[in-house]
């Protein structure tokens, strides 16, 4: 156990699985540090240095720089997965999915079903997501609702350095295509992360705060925001469950419903665009399955229905923050049930 950054935790997860299993390979733009360049080898490790060192340990046969051809290499990763390798393909920014989405959603995700259960596609697609990096409209999106919408994909959004290591190892060992989303603002966050290998199962939510009054369900970096709000609220006598579902697909519906049965109030914090997102997904689940337990409207804390703005002040306004979560919790606490309801 030692202090590690989110970045290191990812690097360690990949390295340990590559050591354990020779069929695990890694590919992406500059993941091997820039092939063919005359200077240092292993100079980069992806655009933010996450995979640095891996080509040195595992060689260019297993750590492959790709051309700027996401359809070809994400598709190749899918094809390799279906034929015996366990590729980890880095898409850099999840915003780039638009140039290769077909290979993800019509190919990899559907092989197993279309082919009557005879295909196994152990593919991990890693990418950065999220706003707050001043990276503007085309490099700041979440987009996990889109992947969650697609049957056949699993979707993981780790909320801390500890989580990211265990979930990534799980993802690499998983036999289905996994979309693995790393929040780019979190790479330098440091916490205690075990040196050894461990896995965190998919579809099991993590209760990061306990309380009787309100359940907060939050995704990825929003778990940190939610915890911050919950801590503040606790000092004011309002006690929240904070649930980190860890994976949006599969979703731990049981734990969410159980928490709402206990608290009767629900706030959902989702950094994704507000229409057809995870906030709506969880809200609808609860409004269908745990309606009787609800004492107040289900409130969603999301960005507005706009692209991500560049100007720092606008971006800060765009991303949900602890203040907005706090207000939402207070508003559901203050809700009075109508007589005739």
């Amino acid at each position: 156990m030692s202090k590690k950054s989110y970045r290191q935790a990812i690097n360690e997860a990949i390295a340990s699985e590559m050591r354990r299993d020779p069929t695990v390979i890694l590919m992406g733009e500059d993941v091997a540090g820039g092939a063919g360049a005359p200077g240092d080898q292993d100079a980069w490790g992806g655009v933010l240095g996450v995979t640095k060192g891996l080509v040195t340990e595992f060689g260019r046969g297993r750590v492959l720089d790709t051309p700027l051809s996401e359809s070809a290499y994400i598709g190749a990763a899918a094809g390799a997965a279906a034929t015996g390798l366990r590729p980890i393909a880095e898409l850099m920014f999840i915003d780039f999915m638009g140039v290769c989405f077909d290979q993800i959603f019509n190919q990899a995700a559907k092989f197993r079903y279309m082919f009557g259960g005879h295909a196994v596609t152990p593919l991990v697609i890693r990418a950065m997501y999220g706003a707050g990096f001043r990276a503007a409209s085309q490099h700041s999106q979440c987009l996990y609702p889109i992947f969650t919408h697609i049957p056949g994909l699993k979707v993981v959004i780790p909320s801390s350095a500890y989580e990211v290591k265990g979930l990534l190892i799980q993802a690499i060992r998983d036999n289905d295509p996994v979309i693995f989303l790393e929040n780019k603002v979190m790479y330098d966050q440091v916490e205690e992360v075990p040196d050894e290998t461990y896995t965190i199962p998919f579809g099991e939510a993590n209760l990061t705060r306990e309380g009787d009054d309100v359940t907060i369900v939050a995704f990825g970096r929003m778990v940190q925001i939610a915890n911050e709000a919950a801590d503040r609220l606790a000092k004011q006598g309002i006690h929240c469950n904070v649930l980190d579902p860890r994976t949006t697909s599969p979703l731990d519906a049981d734990t969410i419903l159980q928490c709402v049965e206990e608290t009767g109030r629900l706030v959902i914090v989702d950094e994704a665009s507000p229409r057809c997102n995870m906030a709506t997904d969880v809200s609808a689940l609860v409004a269908q399955e745990a309606f009787g337990a609800l004492k107040a409207p289900i409130r969603m804390v999301c960005p507005p229905h706009t692209p991500v703005p560049f100007a720092p002040n606008l971006e800060d306004l765009f991303v949900p923050n602890a203040d907005r979560v706090e207000q939402a919790v207070k508003s559901v606490m203050g809700y009075k049930i109508r007589e005739n309801a």
């Binding site: 015996g84 290979q103 056949g152």
Partner: protein, 321 residues
């Protein structure tokens, strides 16, 4: 022409089976009993057969919407295919895929594909597996003239080249993408496109099994020996419409008749091997009878086979969830 008698018979059997399969589907589709979209490969048999003769199960193949011929040539069971096309439980994909998604991974047949240009990236991955695990296998991407304009295909040419993957890109050029002529939609030429990415290419008469067979032999040998990707530009023709139901009024008057009369790969094969006294007409006639019976049995079987059960709707989405 260095094929053994056994291989000549096999080649003819493959082509004949494809032809009979497709012609029968044409008839059965018209009755309304076959659901969905069906794209027939009839006329193009020499391509699938000439290439797949060189392959074994360690070799992988990615196909297209027009996939029946590739499946048959790669060894997928005709009865299981027919059941699949009828949407039946004992179809090769349990009835969940249909004509456009026939696959048999265990046989190296990685799937027909409903997305034009969907296959080439996947086959790069299959080739990467072969290269990484040193299986000695090669990987074949079949794609049409239309698909040659899809970015996924073009990117794959480059990826295969720079990773020196054992891929053979087989552009089956039947002159049309749906109703649109290749002469309109394809800028430049397939050969020069290959050159653009540094990939060796040959153009080959796809009505001539032997021409395809020879060109494929060379390309596959190169790939197996670590020489990287190649392209075969196979010129051929489809006998039927783009899909069943297409009235093909966009084709020239008498175009298909002329092709059937002069460019039928089965007839050309027959006359070549009988003229050269490599096989007798009787040998081939026997295969014709055998194939007809086979297809007949497959249709009878498929029609009678049970549909998937309701519970099948929900299975096979994930390995675990």
């Amino acid at each position: 022409m260095q094929l053994s008698r056994e291989n000549l018979l096999k080649a003819y059997r493959t082509m004949r089976t494809i032809r009979d399969f497709e012609e029968r589907l044409h008839v059965e589709f018209a009755t309304g009993e076959i659901p969905g979209f069906v794209h027939l490969y009839a006329g193009e048999e020499a391509s699938a057969a000439g290439i797949c003769m060189h392959l074994t199960e360690r070799d992988k193949l990615a196909s297209t919407h027009r996939g029946h011929g590739h499946c048959i040539a790669k060894g997928v069971d005709v009865r299981a295919m027919m059941s699949e096309i009828y949407g039946k439980k004992d179809g090769v994909c349990g009835g969940k895929g249909g004509s456009m998604h026939i696959a048999e991974i265990g046989k190296g047949m990685l799937g027909a594909n409903g997305i034009v240009g969907g296959g080439p990236p996947l086959i790069c991955g299959a080739a990467l597996t072969a290269k990484t695990l040193k299986t000695g296998g090669v990987a074949i991407a079949f794609y049409g003239d239309g698909a040659s304009n899809q970015g996924t295909t073009l990117e794959s040419l480059n990826l295969a080249k720079i990773w020196s993957l054992p891929v053979i890109f087989v552009c089956e050029d039947n002159g049309y993408a749906e109703a649109t002529a290749a002469s309109y939609a394809v800028g430049g030429t397939q050969m020069k496109r290959a050159e653009g990415f540094g990939i060796p290419a040959v153009q080959v008469d796809g009505h001539d099994f032997f021409a395809v067979y020879e060109a494929a032999r060379e390309a596959i040998e190169r790939a197996r020996n670590g020489g990287g990707p190649s392209m075969l530009h196979v010129m051929l023709d489809r006998f039927y419409g783009h899909f069943e139901g297409d009235a093909t009024t966009y084709r020239g008057t008498g175009e298909v008749d002329r092709i059937r009369a002069g460019q039928d790969c089965l007839r050309r094969f027959r006359s070549k091997v009988t003229d050269a006294a490599l096989l007798r007409h009787e040998d081939l006639d026997a295969i014709d009878r055998e194939s007809a019976a086979n297809i007949d049995a497959a249709v009878v079987h498929a029609k009678a086979a049970p549909l998937p059960s309701d519970a099948d709707l929900l299975t096979d989405v994930y390995v675990s969830y």
